[in-house]
């Protein structure tokens, strides 16, 4: 079977967001901005991914997996453009849309592993897990996590710092937050409080997210 067209993928994506994540029963053709006889819709109907009843498009059981993976690719692409490439705002969205259609045949798995199996997109929406995520979960908890993922009283070794700018990096290093040091989390709310050696520090979640901890095995 041929690849789905980009426009068809976008319809699946909107359907998923509105009906599976949202509380709509099907979507009006008008809110999807498609015509009943448009090519991309026919493409989806032909594969039995969707059906159209009374002017509403419904996602069929057969289309769910494909829709889920489309959403997953889109949100992984967002992580890539916004977090790694640092492209933000409108430009970031556009680039993410361009990228998502390239993430096929295992490229999404590689990206997902590179990003350490993220669970949410930069806007906070869930990224549907792929097989790679399930496999990683089977192997036990991921070894290296941001400080924000630790539980109070948990200890670990500082693995690396992912500070986005030099000044932040220096702040962390000057507090003795250096790879190889042992760190224990004291409390998470309202600020992150942790101990390195005999000193205690408080940081907000922006900084906490940039300290990566290796959990002991």
């Amino acid at each position: 079977m041929d690849k789905l067209s980009e426009k068809a993928e976008e319809i699946l994506e909107s359907l998923w967001v509105m009906t599976v994540e949202g509380d709509n029963v099907g979507c009006l053709l008008s809110s999807l901005k498609v015509e009943l006889d448009s090519e991309e819709l026919l493409e989806l109907i032909q594969r039995a991914y969707v059906e159209v009843r009374d002017g509403r498009v419904h996602l069929r059981k057969e289309g769910r997996a494909e829709a889920q993976m489309t959403v997953r690719r889109h949100r992984l692409a967002e992580r890539l453009t916004m977090d790694i490439l640092g492209i933000e705002g409108e430009e970031g969205n556009e680039q993410a849309c361009a990228f998502e259609h390239l993430l096929k045949q295992g490229v999404d798995t590689k990206l997902c592993t590179l990003l350490n199996h993220p669970t949410t997109c930069p806007h906070g929406n869930p990224i549907p897990p792929g097989e790679c995520c399930d496999a990683a979960r089977q192997q036990g908890e991921p070894g290296i996590v941001p400080l924000t993922e630790l539980k109070p009283a948990e200890t670990g070794e500082i693995a690396y710092l992912a500070a986005s700018d030099d000044k932040k990096m220096q702040k962390l290093m000057s507090m003795g937050v250096l790879p190889g040091s042992q760190l224990s989390l004291v409390q998470k709310f309202p600020s992150y409080i942790f101990k390195v050696g005999h000193s205690q520090f408080a940081v907000d979640d922006t900084l906490a997210r940039e300290i990566y901890i290796r959990r002991p095995h």
């Binding site: 000193s199 408080a202 907000d204 922006t206």
Partner: protein
């Protein structure tokens, strides 16, 4: 530097914040600087003297620094001293408990070719944690004098004085880093020829870390061709190491430190949680921390400052001492000898120097401010403020500030002028502007607070309306400012020092120092304000201004007499409040009017002193902008509150 050759040898104190640097300064010099258990309160450099073996030494205390690469302005000040002065000795003081974290700075100082003495302080608390330190071994490893100390009990002071007197600089073998890093450093070292006070090796390392100040210095000292060549080499190295240069240098230093500390520290595991630690956890947990904050506010601010300071103390000083014993002879004297009307008015008249100036400052303001500073110093010494900072950080982020801003805001309840000065410790310009504005608008100083609490305490409802309304304005304006002002949102990070039992002497001296600087700074302004008001009264300007402002006041539903209080309010915030006090005593204001007047006055423009500091710290444009905004905001809020209270009949 010819002017320095003639003066005494210099001894510079450096170290992280909160390791006992200022305490060391005090025991060395006998002078007093404000010692605090809060990172980053000493912005300026204190100088003092000490004499050892008939030789006089000048001692310089620097703001806390975390590394040779400055991040904040305070650290820049500290580094600047090391670059400019020619010290006889540099005393690096560290906290024994965190020796592994602080030793890298010692390395950097030694590497810079400075004559370093290492003081390992707070040994007693380290011992309590089960740490044993072999400092002789550390001295062998480092090759510089190392002194163990508990400075607040003067342990180690004698040894330190000897070390300063006997200091003989020996050239130090550099600590070697990884081979590839060494190669890069050497390549650069060969390219510079100037004299930089810091060693060439250290200078090159700072260049590699893109230190702009150092680069500017090098550019000035090297020939042009040399500098261009250096720049080329530098660019290449920086590009090659773009991913992790800073990190690699830090890690290399950590490795060296590990070598230095090998066999020095023995840790005996102790598993008892000290009482302080438990209390600290309660303070940092929002569920228990919030009630603790409320208790502190109730007992510290309301009961002690409001009740004891503004009530008992003021009654005694103003009502008893001045009214019965001090004022009569002064007025008698004036009536007898100062018979000219203008002179009489200038001294003991309605707005006279004595009546409005000295009596107000001494009998009314000083007890209130003093009570506040006592509580503030007490809390500061326990280490409560950093815990409060992390508690409110999330809320403060909403109003464009970080938890760090809690210090200037709390201090504002004592004296907004001082607090505006302290906004310097905030990291971004945006934060400083927001904090300055909120201080000018919605934070009443203790003098004003005292009078207003006294004024409204008879009507608890009015007090509640006043507090809630001010809180709302504070949050609303902060929230809008955070939305509208451009710039990056602040990042919060802060060291949480252990809780300490405050030392009585330290607290008392600190309170007195603060009161003294308040008095020295404020009394002239009180007198200045009196003269202005007196001149205004004599020339009739005052009544013109009052006349011009009175329609505005009437629009708020207030009697015309209140206008005088508003005009006064600009000269001293509390003058205004005290003016209301007189009006209320004579029955001119009902409860609604009193509340509206109190709210408007609290929001209304800061006093002269605060405005001058705003001009100095924030510049003319920003300061004037804030001034205009605050004035408009105060009167429109007053107008709104009046309509609201009348419509709802809330206080009727």
């Amino acid at each position: 530097m010819s002017e320095q050759q003639s003066s005494s040898p210099k001894v510079v104190l450096v170290g992280n914040p909160n390791v006992g640097k200022s305490v060391l300064f005090n025991v060395l010099t006998g002078a007093y600087t404000t010692v605090s258990n809060y990172p980053g309160t000493s912005v300026e450099v204190s100088r003092g003297h000490c004499t050892i073996d008939d030789q006089r030494y000048e001692i310089l205390d620097t703001p806390g620094m975390y590394s040779m690469m400055p991040i904040t302005d305070e650290e820049r000040v500290a580094r600047q001293i090391l670059l400019k002065e020619d010290p006889h000795a540099v005393i690096h003081i560290i906290d024994a408990r965190n020796i592994d974290r602080m030793l890298p700075i010692t390395l950097q100082l030694i590497e810079a070719g400075l004559p370093v003495v290492l003081v390992v302080n707070i040994l007693d608390e380290a011992k309590r944690l089960g740490m044993e330190l072999d400092l002789e071994l550390l001295q062998d490893h480092l090759g510089i004098p190392v002194i163990g100390a508990v400075m607040k009990r003067r342990i180690g002071l004698h040894e330190l004085r000897r070390a300063i007197a006997d200091y003989a600089m020996v050239p130090h073998k550099p600590f070697a880093y990884a081979a590839d890093l060494e190669a890069d450093i050497n390549k650069l070292v060969r390219l510079i020829h100037g004299d930089y006070r810091l060693s060439r090796r250290a200078t090159c390392l700072l260049l590699m870390q893109k230190d702009d100040d150092i680069e500017a210095l090098v550019e000035k000292n090297e020939s042009e061709s040399n500098f261009l060549q250096l720049k080329d080499g530098l660019r290449e190295i920086i590009f090659k190491r773009r991913a992790d240069l800073n990190l690699q240098i830090s890690l290399e230093r950590k490795k060296v430190c590990k070598r230095m500390l090998d066999g020095v520290v023995t840790q005996i595991i102790k598993d008892v949680e000290p009482l302080g630690e438990k209390l600290s956890k309660l303070m940092m947990n929002p569920w228990t921390g919030t009630p603790i904050l409320l208790l502190v506010v109730y007992f510290g601010l309301y009961k002690f400052v409001g009740g004891f300071g503004a009530g008992t103390l003021v009654d005694f000083l103003e009502g008893n001492l001045f009214e019965n014993y001090v004022n009569p002879p002064v007025i008698n004297f004036a009536e007898k000898y100062l018979t000219q009307r203008w002179l009489y008015e200038l001294t003991v008249g309605e707005y006279g120097l004595w009546t409005l100036g000295i009596r107000y400052a001494v009998a009314l303001v000083l007890p209130i401010v003093g009570a506040f500073f006592l509580i503030f110093s007490l809390l500061e010494d326990t280490g409560y403020f950093p815990r409060l900072a992390l508690l409110v950080d999330r809320l403060f982020k909403r109003i464009g500030l970080s938890g760090r801003a809690v210090i200037p805001i709390v201090l504002g309840f004592g004296c907004d002028t001082m607090a505006t000065l302290v906004t310097r410790t905030l990291e971004t310009r945006r934060e400083r502007i927001i904090a300055t504005m909120l201080l000018a608008l919605a934070i009443p100083c203790s003098a004003q607070l005292g009078v207003i609490l006294g004024l409204l305490s008879a009507a608890p409802n009015a007090l509640a309306v006043w507090s809630i309304f001010l809180l709302l304005v504070f949050l609303l304006i902060g929230f809008l400012a955070a939305r509208l002002l451009p710039g990056e949102s602040p990042v919060f990070y802060m060291e949480i020092p252990p809780l300490r039992l405050p030392q009585l002497r330290n607290v008392v001296v600190k309170t007195l120092t603060r009161m003294q600087s308040y008095f020295v700074e404020i009394l002239p302004l009180f007198l200045f304000a009196s003269v202005i008001l007196w001149a205004g009264k004599m020339t009739g300007t005052l009544s013109t201004v009052v006349g011009a402002l009175s329609p505005v006041v009437k629009a708020l539903g207030l009697p015309v007499e209140v206008t005088t209080a508003f005009v006064f309010g600009f000269f001293r915030r509390d003058f205004g409040a005290a003016g209301l006090y007189d009006l209320q005593s004579s029955g001119l204001l009902n409860i609604t009017q009193l509340t509206v007047a109190a709210v408007t006055l609290t929001l209304f423009v800061p006093c002269v002193a605060q405005f001058l500091v705003m001009l100095k710290e924030r510049g003319v444009k920003t300061a004037l902008g804030i001034f205009v905004f605050v004035t408009l905001m105060a009167f429109s809020s007053g107008w709104f509150l009046n309509k609201f209270l009348l419509a709802t009949g809330l206080l009727a």
